[in-house]
């Protein structure tokens, strides 16, 4: 996508925001006929769990087409090895990249605006190796490629976001499930802080609203929540294996609010316990009422 197209895109998407909130729900109704809203796959083999989850959702071909440029956005924010559950499981990222290529993707690009040094995070997380093995590109984020995006939100009016997530044909959000002292948990919605530029630590002053504002414009094709290992305390950085719980689970869906709503249950919480999930559902960005979702659980 060229810069001009990008500007058009933001103009159109901003206009879309002004429409009544019924539209996503219409999509939701249409989807009910096509299969489950969420797939929760559990299995000791992470690659198999990811594949099975995608299959149950209609296969990666439903989301990724021939020649697509796909962005995978894992959480790679911290310099930790995979077993500490501070970063997205590399097998989840690697398998998704392979599935994208199998579906005909031209390029798969992987990045995150890390808090610790990016070189170390990419490598220690195991994601650089997994991406390379799958043929995906690990992208070092380029400070010139953040662009001010109008959010028209309640907390954020506009913010510099990484242009590539709007330029890509398809975007897949690949967060890990962890605790966070301010947002309660960091799941899919919170993961978009990893495409924010600027002084992003300032948004903690109104974090929940800011996350909702981000999710007004960032609408991924697919969300894959990694709960192979979850971090139950000392998040989001972790560092103590005693805080890690192994669930061998991935949660897949197209509605990131629904994924986050389900994600709370992994920690024994309720969707409404997360203010940003509540606000997002209220704003019509997704469904948080688990009873209204068709959830398919599979074992591998």
């Amino acid at each position: 996508m060229k810069r001009r197209d990008f500007l058009k895109w933001t103009a159109v998407s901003s206009a879309g925001l002004a429409l009544p909130v019924g539209l996503p729900l219409l999509g939701h109704v249409a989807q009910a006929a096509r299969g489950p809203d969420l797939v929760v796959a559990r299995g000791a083999s992470t690659p198999q769990a990811v594949r099975a989850a995608l299959d149950a959702l209609g296969g990666m071909r439903r989301f990724v087409g021939r020649g697509d440029v796909v962005v995978l956005k894992p959480n790679i924010g911290w310099d930790r090895a995979p077993q500490y559950a501070a970063t997205t499981n590399p097998d989840v990222v690697g398998t998704l990249a392979k599935l994208c290529f199998e579906a005909g993707a031209k390029k798969v690009r992987v990045f995150d605006n890390t808090v610790n040094d990016a070189r170390r995070c990419y490598r220690q997380s195991g994601i650089a190796d997994a991406a390379a093995a799958a043929g995906a590109e690990m992208v070092t984020m380029d400070s010139r490629k953040y662009r001010d995006v109008r959010l028209n939100g309640t907390a954020l009016k506009s913010w510099p976001l990484y242009g590539e997530i709007f330029e890509a044909d398809k975007v897949i959000n690949v967060p890990i499930a962890k605790t966070h002292s301010l947002s309660g948990l960091t799941l899919a919605m919170k993961n978009w802080m990893g495409v924010m530029g600027g002084v992003r630590f300032r948004v903690h002053q109104r974090l929940d609203e800011s996350l909702v504002d981000l999710c007004r414009v960032i609408r991924p094709t697919l969300t894959v929540l990694d709960a192979v290992r979850i971090l139950t305390a000392n998040g989001p950085t972790g560092g103590d294996l005693a805080d890690v719980k192994r669930l061998d689970t991935v949660v897949v869906g197209t509605d990131q609010v629904a994924v986050d709503a389900f994600g709370t249950t992994l920690f024994g919480m309720k969707p409404g316990d997360l203010e940003h999930v509540r606000l997002a559902a209220q704003a019509g960005l997704g469904v948080m009422d688990l009873s209204k979702l068709q959830i398919k659980r599979i074992g591998v």
Binding site: R3, W78, D79, R80, V115, N116, D117, R119, R120, Y122, R123, Q124, A128, T140, R144, H180, S181, L182, V199, F201, R202, H204, Q205, R206, L207, N234, P236, T237, G238, G239, D240
Partner: protein, 529 residues
Amino acid sequence: MSELTLTQARRIVQGLFLALFLFLFIQTESKGADELGWPVKLFLDFDPLIFLTTFLSAHRVEGLFWLSLILVGLTAVLGRVFCGWVCPLGTLNNLAGSLRKKKPKPPNPGWFRIKYYVLVGLLATSLFGVQLAGILDPVSLTIRSFSLALYPAMSYAVTSLFDALYRLDLPLVTPSSEALYDLLKKTLLPFRQPWFAQGTFIGLLFLGVLALNLVQRRFWCRFLCPLGALLGLLSRWSVLRRGVSEQCDACGACAGVCQADALPAGKEKWRVSECLVCSNCDDVCPKNAVRFGFLRGSPGGGLDLGRRNVMASFFAGALAVPLLRISPLARPRMSDARLIRPPGSLGEAAFLQSCVRCGECMKVCITGGLQPTLLEAGLEGLWTPVLVPRIGSCEFGCTLCGQVCPTGAIRKLPLEDKQQVRLGHAAIDRGRCLPFAHATPCIVCEETCPTPKKAIWLERVTVRDREGRPVRLQQPHVDLTACIGCGACEKHCPVVGQPAIYVTSAGESRSEEHQLLLQVPTGTPLPYR
């Protein structure tokens, strides 16, 4: 095809060593692992001046320093080949000197002795425990100047150029410039633009050294270099000698091409200690009367340093020690609170006796937080490394600074040990902290704290805003038993300018006097000697 002359061979060798030097320099950067994969401090390991002065001041020998004995041996056999054929600064001086086309005036006949007085002075200071040799040592000087000034300036210039082309967004031009920029980022450019306090100043000093070549070629090597002086002394027994046959008709052609003050036209007066074995005199001789070989007899050209002058240099160096030590900063518990040393640094006194200010640690620091001091550690500590967390904190999983330190001033620690080392402790400024002073939520210091059990804990409180409305939020506190002073909290504190949480050296592992708590937290190593 004619045979390669010695001068041509020398230039090729010089080029190769300069290339090796630059290659190792570029490799002094993390690629994500906690090792570099190259012996990046090799030139420093081979440096006998650093070896000798560190041994005198700190009474310690670091493992690889035995390599410098190879250079000692080589010099004793072949003379100052290091200066003429290897030294990167010497080669850069050659290059800078070639900018001067006019024939220089003959050098002042006594100036070549200055470097010996500099050497004697430095040896005296180090004998009494002050290590200043690294400031003038050519290898240390060059690495420091490249790390802190020339390389960052190069990076800034190149990046600005490509940024400008990117912004112009020209058809054909910008795509190709971006491709080239990509390639440069993968090879020559640093991962991130480095910023160094005093970079401008240190850069100007180095450019000054190069500019002196316009006054006299290899000005630095002839008159000032203490390593050159040390090698000059060692070369007095060298077996490689210069012979002049009877064909010599004293035409004087060699006098003008000598890179130093070795008096090649003086025949028997030739000074072996000044000869860089550049072989210019051999190549230029129209009668082909000069040759270098393993010859008998000793050359006549002495040094004539003068006992008085040598004594004066020695006492000047010795007297510098008390003059430098009367700063209150050198007293226990009076050091600058912001003097946060790299992880694994020796106790301050031993640290200053060992650090040669080569800048390797600052070059390799993954966050760029290690900066050169100016006067924070007293004049004695000029250009030693200090962590400035606001620029970059100490990355929890990184031990690179200890790996590249050539003298062990920063000890090479296993990662598990390094993660226990306290650089100091964080303290919260409640007058600036958002949850304390402004009834505004913020938990960034806690969020970014890297210790497995977070050293910053949050207290849930209800405070009131200006209108008296209750606001529920979390206020941070520092747990001194867990805080290692890495500065991640300070780095990321969103309070602009003076941060609301900051690290001081209070509590640093390496000093008994700097402990805050009566009982040192368990599981942490004892203070380093």
